[in-house]
Amino acid sequence: MGISVRNVSFAYEPIHEVVHDATLTINPGESVALIGPNGSGKSTLLRLIAGGLRPNRGSILVDDRDIATYGARAFARRLAMVEQQHAVSFDFSVREVVAMGRMPHRGRFARETADDRQAIHRAMALAEVDTLAKRSIRELSGGEGQRVFLAMALAQEAGILLLDEPTTFLDLRHQLAFLSIVKRRITEGTTVLLAIHDLTLAAQTADRIAMMHDGAVVHDGATTDVLTAENVRAVFDVTVAIGEDSTSGMPYVLPSLHEAQNGDDHSSVECAWDVAKQRAGQDP
């Protein structure tokens, strides 16, 4: 059950492999944040899992079955995905967009059933877009729009939810609004794989962190084990301090603009991350 990526490699162009021998297992009900620099292969890996791309080598199982063996609609009933941004070409209403999440559940010419209506209603309430139902999807703000597409994915009622940097273009308030909805789904048992750039929000949202570098998953484990200053430096090539909020106990990542400019001299932050590392070691 869940997602199992086994030694998967993929190249858009024959020479350069964007995903290289990646392995990742996500158990049912687990939530994993996928982090890594631009070009490390996060989006491509998500696309491979969602079936939009076919791996050149390796295999991907969803609910213990190779994804290549699923029919398109059967697969969409198990796995839903929200993209980084959406460009809609016509004036569909918010309700119409969310209703499209029900497409995998009913035949081409079938009418909306009571089940469908219920699922649509529930999804819109969960994603807090029920008040927007009649608005055109194209006149919403970025934050509202992303929540509509989250609602569409929720209406699919799939056990697995993939999110490809869904908050990249949102301001902080909308990032938090979006992720708190995701967090609630996680608590209620949805399996979630979330690619995200903000390391602090990654740590706060998911149970586990997988770090990608040059197309491979190089670190995978508990948030405090993976999100260390050494790992971040090795993978992102930046200097950060990792601390812990004294009241909530949540980890945070503090990037250093000064250090990024001065390259080699890390001394001032060095002690900060040593402290963080020790703390991480002490209370896992």
Binding site: G71, F75, M81, V88, F92, R135, M152, A153
Partner: protein, 339 residues
């Protein structure tokens, strides 16, 4: 305007159907020779009074009726093809002619008129072959190494190949050194329903019916595609499938319509827009509405084309543009943001 209730939608669709049937009746009755209703009713259903004269019968059943049916088929075909192309390319500027169908057909028709004018039956064949050749070249160019179709390349190739075929047509016209054949080609390009007969309809009807049915079959998938290829895929639609089927089907639909009636402009672009503005973008309603509205529009345009300067006949493409363009501009001005 956006999310019409189901009931309002049904009223509009039902209203369109009624108007369509009425238009067909009107298209048969109205013309340079006005045929009174009573004798028609008498001939059809029996009853008191005189029936139709023999001349009137010929005008009705051999001239007007096939013409009205052809207008319905071509109008519906072009409008459905335009709606599908706009959905497929996710672009409101797309029309049935975007892939070079019209230019290819014109070249084919010009070749037949200029060099094989004694074989009139070849005209639709030539136009169809020309259209198929143009689109075939466009598809060939847009096919990339990994056999995936690039929509962007497709549109650019369509523009380029269209220009090339237009140039060939112009060159052919230059060679023809004026005269009757030149004006015949120009008339063909502007479009007209003057060649309508029951044989043409026997050929066109099955093609239009089958193609329109296939496009309807993919209506829901076109809705999903409007949210983006990736998103469509996440709800179980395979965009490659959609492209493969609909590009072929809409091309066939357009080429067959153009082969019978010339390159009638504006219907494929404007009718889907008008229907989208009044019914919303859901293709399950948009496509049948476009089919009916396209049919109505061309029937009435043809009525004007053959009556306005009778006994001379205007090319119907002139009328569709004259009626369509101002109305479209009005929509653009008042509701432009929603297009």
């Amino acid at each position: 305007m956006r999310s019409k209730t189901r009931r309002a939608t049904h009223w509009i669709l039902g209203g369109l159907a009624v108007v369509l049937v009425a238009s067909m009746g009107a298209g048969i009755v109205i013309g340079p020779v006005v045929i009174p209703l009573r004798p028609i009713v008498t001939t059809l259903f029996g009853g008191p009074g005189e029936g139709l004269t023999a001349v009137q019968e010929v005008i009705l059943w051999q001239i007007r009726a096939p013409r009205v049916v052809l207008a319905l088929l071509v109008g519906a075909g072009l409008a459905v093809s335009g709606a599908a192309m706009q959905g497929l390319f996710r672009n409101p500027l797309a029309s049935p002619y975007i892939l070079g169908v019209a230019s290819g057909a014109s070249t084919g028709a010009a070749l037949v008129i200029l060099f094989a004018s004694s074989f009139a039956f070849l005209l639709p064949v030539g136009a169809f072959v020309g259209a198929a050749a143009a689109v075939g070249i466009v598809y060939g160019l847009a096919q990339s190494r990994n056999r995936k179709l690039s929509i962007f390349t497709l549109i650019l190739a369509g523009v380029a190949v269209g220009s090339l075929f237009s140039a060939i047509t112009s060159f052919l016209l230059f060679l023809s050194s004026g005269g009757e054949k030149l004006s015949e080609v120009l008339f063909w390009i502007m479009g007209g329903l003057g060649r309508a007969d029951w044989e043409a309809i026997a050929v066109l009807l099955p093609i239009v019916a089958a193609c329109v049915a296939i496009v309807f079959f993919f209506a829901r998938d076109l809705n999903a595609l409007a949210l983006g290829e990736e998103t469509a895929q996440h709800v179980g639609v395979r965009p490659e499938n959609l492209y493969r089927w609909l590009l072929v089907v809409t091309t066939l639909l357009t080429a067959a319509s153009v082969a019978m009636a010339g390159t009638i402009g504006f219907i494929g672009l404007v009718i889907p827009h008008i229907m989208r503005l009044s019914l919303g973008p859901d293709h399950r309603r948009l496509l049948p509405a476009s089919a009916m509205a396209g049919g109505c529009f061309l029937i009435w345009s043809d009525v004007v084309a053959r009556s306005a300067f009778a006994p001379a006949e205007l090319p119907v493409g002139v009328i569709t543009a004259f009626l369509g363009a101002p109305f479209f501009l009005y929509l653009l001005k008042t509701k432009g943001a929603q297009l």
